[in-house]
C-alpha cells in the first residue's frame, strides 16, 4: 500500500491522500457553497472534500491536474479581484465569485489546461456525488443526505418502511455534538 507524504511545508504526515491542507481549506469553502448548511449540515461537514481527495487517489486520478491547477488558479484569481483568500470572504461574496466562474465570466490569467467553467462543473458534479452518494466512498458522512431526504438507511433488506410518513424530526446539534 502506498502512503503519500506531503513534506513541502511541514514534517507531519498529511491525513489527505493527494490534496494538501491549503487546498482542502479552499475546497471545503467551495463545497460548502455548492451544498450549504441550513437546518442540515452542508458539504464541508459531510466530508465532501475527503470524498474528492479519496477519488483523486483512485477512480479520479485523471482529474489530479485539474484540481491542482484549478484550485491554485481560482485562489489567485480571487486574491487578485478581492484582495483576500476565497475562504476569508463573506458567504455572499463567495457565492458571487462562484457564479462568475460557473458562467465563464472569470479572468483567465492563471488558468492553463482547465478553463474556469469546466473546473467549476467538475467540482460541482463531484460535490453532488460526495454528498448524495454512498458513504463507503468517503463522503455523505453518517448518511446525512439520506437523513435529510428522509430515506431509511442503511437500506435494510426486507423493506424497512414506516407507516407514519410525517417528517422525522432531525436535530443538527446532536450531530455536531457527536463530532
Amino acid at each position: 500500500m502506498l502512503i503519500s507524504f506531503n513534506t513541502a511545508c511541514r514534517n507531519k504526515i498529511s491525513q489527505w491522500r493527494y490534496l494538501n491542507e491549503e487546498e482542502i481549506t479552499l475546497l471545503d469553502a467551495i463545497v460548502e457553497q455548492i451544498i450549504p448548511t441550513d437546518d442540515f449540515p452542508g458539504g464541508k461537514w459531510a466530508n465532501v472534500s475527503n470524498f474528492i481527495d479519496k477519488q483523486l487517489d483512485t477512480y479520479y486520478s485523471k482529474h489530479k491536474s485539474a484540481y491542482r491547477e484549478g484550485l491554485a488558479a481560482f485562489q489567485k484569481t480571487v486574491i487578485q479581484v478581492k484582495g483576500k483568500k476565497f475562504e476569508e470572504l463573506p458567504f455572499a461574496e463567495q457565492t458571487a465569485m462562484l457564479e462568475k466562474m460557473e458562467a465563464g465570466e472569470f479572468p483567465g490569467d492563471y488558468w492553463k489546461d482547465h478553463p474556469p467553467a469546466n473546473f467549476f462543473n467538475l467540482v460541482r458534479e463531484h460535490s453532488m456525488q460526495g454528498f448524495y452518494g454512498s458513504p463507503v466512498h468517503g463522503g455523505n458522512r453518517g448518511y446525512i443526505s439520506y437523513q435529510m431526504l428522509r430515506l431509511d438507511y442503511p437500506n435494510v433488506i426486507g423493506q424497512n418502511r414506516y407507516n407514519d410518513l410525517s417528517w422525522r424530526k432531525y436535530n443538527p446539534k446532536s450531530l455536531e455534538n457527536g463530532k
Partner: protein, 550 residues
C-alpha cells in the same frame, strides 16, 4: 495443451447467449460459453449508487472495467476521442455472467405484432433502412412464452386491451402498485387510458426455487440480494451447466472468429484469464456479445474470403445500430408520492403504440424506477439552479414529491448509425476497439415529443402542480437497449443473417442477441432477446440433429 474440440462456442453469457447455450447443451451439443466478465453477487456491490449500472460516475459495477475496455466516440470536431465504460458516450451495457440481466429493471415486454412489420404498416421512411422482420409475432410467440415460463414473469394483462395475443397466462400474478402507481392508475382511467401492471422478470411469489421479491428501492442498476429478479445467471445458465455438456469460461475475452480457407468457421481465438492467447475449435459459433461487441467481433474476424470481417461482404455488419430514444416528463406534487416500495416502475399504458396514423411506431409509457439521491440531483426543470441553497431546497422539497413517466421510442434504423472498428486504437489485449457514431432519425424526435406530451398530460391529470418534459435529441450512443447491427432478413443483400440468426455468408456462425433486431419495438427489449435466444438455439439444435453442421 490444446483445448478439447466442442460442438459449439457461444460468445457472451447475457440474455441471448445464456439461453442459446442452455438450448444447445440440453439438446445434446457440447458447448463452451465464453464470458469476458465474471460472476457477481449483491454483497460486493450493495446499494452503492456511484458504482451501480444505473449511475456510474466511479465505475460500472457490473462491468466492463475502465482499465481494459475503451472505445472511440465522435469528438464533435470530425475526430475521435477515447471513451470509457462509465461515460455515457461509450454506450455500455454490462459484462458479467448474466450481463445486463443481472442488474436490469427486468421489464418483460413482448413486442406488438405490428413491431415485426413496421414497413408494411407505415410504408418506407425516407432516410431510414426500415424493413419488416423476416419473422412474425405469431412465429415468435411460443418462444416468448418459453422465456416467460423458464425465467419467470409476473404480470396480468386483463386491463390492457392492446396486449399482444398470448396463449397462456403469465406464470406469476402481477405486482401490486406502489403509491405512484395508485395515483397514476386513477388519473389514467379518467383520461380514458388503460393502465395495467408492468410485466416483470421478477418473482411476485416463489418460483423455480427462487424467493419472491422484497421490493428493494435499489433494483434497476443492482443485483438482487435474494435472487428474486430473473436473469440468465440464476435460471438458464445453471441449467446448462447441470447438463454436463456446457463449460462456462469466465474472464475470457474472445478476439476473433477463425474462418478457414473454405469459408467455414472453425472456432475462436481468445485471451484467457491470464491474458494468454488461446484457441477453442468448434463445429459452430454462436455470437451473443451485444449489438456493439457482436459487430466488433465479426468485423475483427478477417479472413481470405471475408477481408472486411466475417459475414460482412455486403457491408451490413455493424450498420443500423439502434437503441431507444427515451422521452417523457416529470411532475412535482404537493403531497408525498414516495413510499419506498421498489423498484418503483409498476404501471404502464399501451395506448400510444401504433394507434395514431401520423405517428410511426410509438412506445409504451411507464412510471420510472426509483430515482436515488445522486441521480435526483440532475432531475430539474430547465433553468433551475444547479447548486447552492436552491438546489438543496429542491432536493429536500421534491425527493419524495415527484413522479417521472417515461417511454422508449423505437428508433428508426439509420444505415449510417453504426459500429465500426477503429483502424488504429486497440484495447488492453491489442484488439481493435469499437467506435460508434451516427445521429438519430428525425422521426425519433417527433415521436419523442408526441409521447412526452402524453406523459405530461397524465401527470397533470394525477395532480402534479408543476411539470416539465425531457425529450430526446439527435445525438445518442446506444447502450443498454442496443440492437440491430446484424439484422435478420430474407434478402442477403440487405441483411446479415437469415430468419434463424444464421449468417447468410458463413452457415456455421449464428447470432443470438439484440443484433438481430430489424427494429427495436417500443419496449425494453430483454424478453425479445431471450425469446430470440430460444428461437435461434432451438433452430440450431433441430438442425444439429439432422446434419451435425457438416
Amino acid at each position: 495443451m490444446a483445448n478439447k474440440h466442442v460442438n459449439a462456442v457461444v460468445v457472451g453469457a447475457g440474455a441471448g447467449g445464456g439461453v442459446a447455450a442452455k438450448e444447445l447443451a440440453v439438446g445434446g451439443l457440447t458447448v463452451v460459453l465464453f464470458e469476458r466478465g465474471r460472476w457477481h453477487t449483491y454483497d460486493e456491490h450493495g446499494d452503492d449508487e456511484l458504482t451501480s449500472q444505473r449511475t456510474f460516475p466511479l465505475k460500472c459495477g457490473y462491468g466492463p472495467d475502465n482499465e481494459r475496455n475503451w472505445r472511440m466516440a465522435p469528438d464533435g470536431k470530425n475526430g475521435w476521442i477515447k471513451v470509457f465504460p462509465n461515460q455515457w458516450s461509450y454506450g455500455n451495457n454490462a459484462a458479467c455472467v448474466g450481463s445486463g440481466t443481472v442488474s436490469y429493471g427486468a421489464m418483460a415486454w413482448r413486442f406488438q405484432p405490428e413491431d415485426f412489420h413496421l414497413k408494411t404498416k407505415y410504408g418506407a421512411v425516407p432516410g431510414s433502412t426500415l424493413d419488416d422482420w423476416p419473422l412474425s409475432y405469431d412465429e415468435l410467440e411460443p418462444y416468448y412464452e418459453k422465456a416467460e415460463y423458464e425465467l419467470g414473469v409476473a404480470g396480468d394483462p386483463t386491463n390492457d386491451p392492446f396486449v399482444p395475443p398470448r396463449k397462456k397466462p403469465y406464470p406469476m400474478p402481477a405486482f401490486s402498485f406502489n403509491r405512484e402507481g395508485v395515483i397514476l392508475e386513477k388519473a389514467a382511467k379518467s383520461l380514458g387510458l388503460h393502465p395495467f401492471p408492468i410485466p416483470m422478470l421478477r418473482n411476485s411469489v416463489p418460483y423455480n426455487g427462487r424467493p419472491a421479491c422484497i421490493r428493494m428501492r435499489t433494483c434497476v442498476g443492482y443485483a438482487c440480494p435474494v435472487s428474486a429478479k430473473a436473469g440468465t445467471q440464476n435460471t438458464v445458465i445453471p441449467v446448462a451447466l447441470k447438463t454436463g455438456n456446457c463449460e462456462l469460461r469466465i474472464n475470457c475475452m474472445v478476439s476473433e472468429i477463425l474462418v478457414d480457407e473454405s469459408g467455414k468457421a472453425k472456432g475462436i481465438r481468445y485471451f484467457d484469464e491470464d491474458n494468454k492467447l488461446q484457441e477453442q475449435t468448434s463445429d459452430l459459433v454462436v455470437v451473443a456479445a451485444s449489438a456493439s461487441e457482436t459487430a466488433r467481433l465479426l468485423l475483427n474476424s478477417r479472413s481470405k474470403l471475408f477481408p472486411n470481417g466475417a459475414g460482412n461482404n455486403n457491408g451490413w455488419v455493424g450498420k443500423n445500430i439502434q437503441d431507444h430514444a427515451y422521452t417523457g416528463a416529470y411532475g412535482l406534487f404537493e403531497d408525498e408520492v414516495y413510499d419506498d416500495v421498489g423498484p418503483g416502475a409498476c404501471i404502464a399504458v399501451n395506448d400510444f403504440n401504433h394507434r395514431f396514423p401520423d405517428v410511426i411506431g410509438g412506445g409504451v409509457l411507464c412510471n420510472e424506477f426509483i430515482r436515488m439521491p445522486y441521480q435526483f440531483t440532475s432531475i430539474r426543470p430547465a433553468g433551475s439552479r444547479r447548486w447552492g441553497k436552491d438546489h438543496k431546497d429542491f432536493q429536500k422539497q421534491n425527493f419524495k414529491r415527484h413522479i417521472g413517466i417515461h417511454g422508449p421510442v423505437q428508433e428508426m434504423p439509420v444505415f449510417e448509425k453504426m459500429v465500426e472498428v477503429d483502424p488504429v486504437v486497440r484495447d488492453f489485449w491489442g484488439i481493435p476497439v469499437a467506435r460508434i457514431s451516427g445521429l438519430r432519425h428525425d422521426n425519433d424526435i417527433k415521436v419523442g415529443h408526441f409521447l412526452a406530451d402524453k406523459a405530461e398530460e397524465w401527470l397533470k391529470e394525477a395532480g402534479a402542480i408543476y411539470t416539465w418534459q425531457g425529450v430526446p435529441g439527435k445525438e445518442s450512443t446506444p447502450s443498454q437497449h442496443q440492437s440491430g447491427t446484424c439484422r435478420m432478413g430474407n434478402d442477403p443483400k440487405s441483411s446479415v443473417t437469415n430468419r434463424y440468426g444464421q449468417l447468410h455468408e458463413i452457415d456455421n456462425i449464428f447470432i443470438a442477441d439484440g443484433s438481430l433486431h430489424v427494429t427495436n419495438g417500443g419496449y425494453n427489449p430483454a424478453l425479445t432477446i431471450l425469446a430470440l435466444g430460444y428461437w435461434v438455439g432451438g433452430h440450431i439444435t433441430a438442425m444439429w440433429k439432422g446434419t451435425k453442421m457438416k
